[in-house]
Symmetry: C2
Subunit: 366 residues, 2 copies
């Protein structure tokens, strides 16, 4: 294990052994339609409250990831989980029945990044053969908590993003455990999913992580979260380049979480000012998940679920198939709270970087 | 490293190299008076809002811990931090200026336990020579968020606890880094503090951790958090005994976070029903920090700060001096949210166990 100031490079990269995505109705009608493991028929998931619905999505994502990996919950050592709601209630009520020792995490929309960092660190250290990571968000619970009652029907500025309804879950396993389960090249698994291209037998591993710092450039507009988060994305991507001694060309894609249109532009500008051009490799989950014009989502998607479901439903398959050899996945979070917002404070941001690499048959410990 | 289902026993136990406690006025007048590193003259800490005050306490605790350890913030690889407030705003605004890569954690009042678990795992794995862990709570921010406006002057039932105003921070270091800094027996440090008894030269190490699961026995009374948390404490302590193959006699003290009078009694009853008697070794930080009758705090203290400041101000010195050889520190959290509470849901609990042991001069890798 080699380490830079904020980054760790794993000698034995944990394998992303299984993943599952649960999406809301709107997300299921967007550009990633057909790729999700489960699309809610209605966003209440048959529950009485939006919060219960979000919990149900988180639980469903976890159970689906276990099922897809052919695993029982007793095979999972630890669970790393979080959501956007105060006191993480989507998580508390969502994962309780799994009865797995839990680390509750809060990194706003960067939470799945934080969970993958800590989960990979835990597996790579040999603390457990397998851990589970999950995050979720829900348009209705987030609007209720952070903005206006849905019935109020307020207008949204073009810079605003639309909170993704959905949850993504990932099982991380040691190479040994994954090989024992599904053969040296993963050939016993079903990946890649039909329609995702590439050859079967590949795996995605987490080869390095770059843990983010809080970045705050004074943005106070809760309807422009992209601007609030762009400095954090800039900080983490730059730190990743520095710690690993690489540049943008080292990655097939650099994938931010939910900067949306405004934040992505700001990130490009920051990077260019720092002498780096990301435009050839940058993509943003918030711009992948919706057809913004047709679906009326303005600057793009956001929320803890945005990057998580996009990773599970789309990115991962491309890495497993080898279409992309190496990506830098950077979920971005705006640490917005109504209390601090109403007290006139800024919206600090944070972003965590996860290097996800392809391993083909025979390519072990590359 | 040996591991049980939820526990890890470290081959190279990280050292608690430095600790600091910042307390509010009321806490500074309680049984631990004179033991805190800083007592606020007023609980606003000179700030405009209670939330800013809590952030200031968290930052002060971090800076004091670094100072007491003779360390610069650049020597800290990662920060594990959290608080009770929605979106962890005490943390976001408290630690931003430290510019240390941050893992935001939420475990309600168990947060310092979660932070010490993850911090110890990180150091023991060799991911960093030093990490910092911190948590905070504030009576006024918590009442505002979870209960009634202070000005309303509502009556409190006897089962209610009083949220501790304060923050505790801990530097965890590898044995090698700690020895290099302060000599093989820690003799270059000032510990133990005057008046804490024992001989100088000892250290406290984290030898094992037991990560908690969510425990929910259906308690819905937000004025009786002790009852909500007792099942979680029971679950984690029992699991620790099982995983490590020990009983209550293995510990000089088993120290819960903030069960208070009601929750402590419930824990004793649960344990007795399971054939274990903890009464000889149990103590609760919530009952240590206040003189409940004289200070009108009813069932005791609570909050993320409760167990953190008690560990820093009182427990740690007794372990370092060798007065206690081995304690099981079990911060307890009630995952209460006003949203779920108002929707009629229960209050789930969680507790994380941290085994803290004395290492005397020459006792390395015991």
């Amino acid at each position: 294990m080699r380490r830079g100031r904020a980054s760790l490079v794993f000698e034995h990269p944990p394998v992303i052994e299984a993943a599952a995505s649960v999406a809301g109705k709107k997300e299921g009608e967007g550009p990633l339609r057909g790729r999700f493991d489960l699309v809610a028929e209605d966003d209440r998931m048959g529950k009485k409250t939006w919060e219960e619905a979000e919990s149900a999505m988180q639980e469903a994502a976890c159970r689906l990831a276990l099922k897809k990996g052919g695993l029982e919950r007793g095979q999972i050592q630890y669970l790393f989980a979080g959501d956007l709601l105060g006191q993480l209630i989507a998580t508390s009520f969502g994962v309780a029945d799994l009865e797995i020792p839990l680390f509750g995490l809060y990194g706003a929309c960067s939470t799945i990044g934080e969970a993958l960092c800590l989960g990979a660190m835990t597996v790579a250290a040999g603390y457990g053969e397998r851990v589970l990571t999950v995050s979720s968000s829900h348009f209705a619970t987030a609007e209720k908590q952070f903005r206006f009652p849905l019935g109020y029907g307020n207008q949204r500025p073009w810079s605003s993003t639309w909170t993704v309804t959905g949850s993504g879950a990932f099982v991380l396993a040691s190479e040994e455990a994954a090989e024992e389960k599904s053969g040296p090249a993963g050939e016993k698994r079903g990946f890649p999913e039909p329609g995702q291209g590439g050859k079967p037998g590949g795996r995605a591993v987490i080869s390095a992580v770059t843990v983010g710092k809080i970045a705050d450039m004074g943005v106070k507009d809760s309807m422009n979260m992209g601007a609030a988060m762009a400095p954090a994305a800039y900080s983490t991507i730059s730190r990743n380049f520095m710690d690993l001694g690489v540049g943008a060309e080292a990655y097939d894609r650099i994938i931010t979480g939910d900067l949306g249109r405004v934040g992505s532009q700001a990130l490009m500008d920051f990077m260019r000012a720092g002498g780096r051009d990301l435009s050839a490799v940058h993509m943003d989950c918030g711009l992948e998940i919706y057809d913004c014009a047709a679906q009326d989502t303005h600057a793009g998607g956001s929320g803890c679920g945005c990057s998580a479901v996009t990773l599970a439903a789309s990115i991962l398959g491309k890495v497993e198939s080898g279409e992309w050899r190496r990506v830098l996945f950077v979920p971005t979070g705006a640490l917005l709270s109504t209390v601090s917002f109403n007290e006139g404070r800024t919206i600090p941001g944070i972003a965590h970087g996860v290097v996800i690499e392809h391993r083909g048959p025979g390519e072990r410990r590359g």
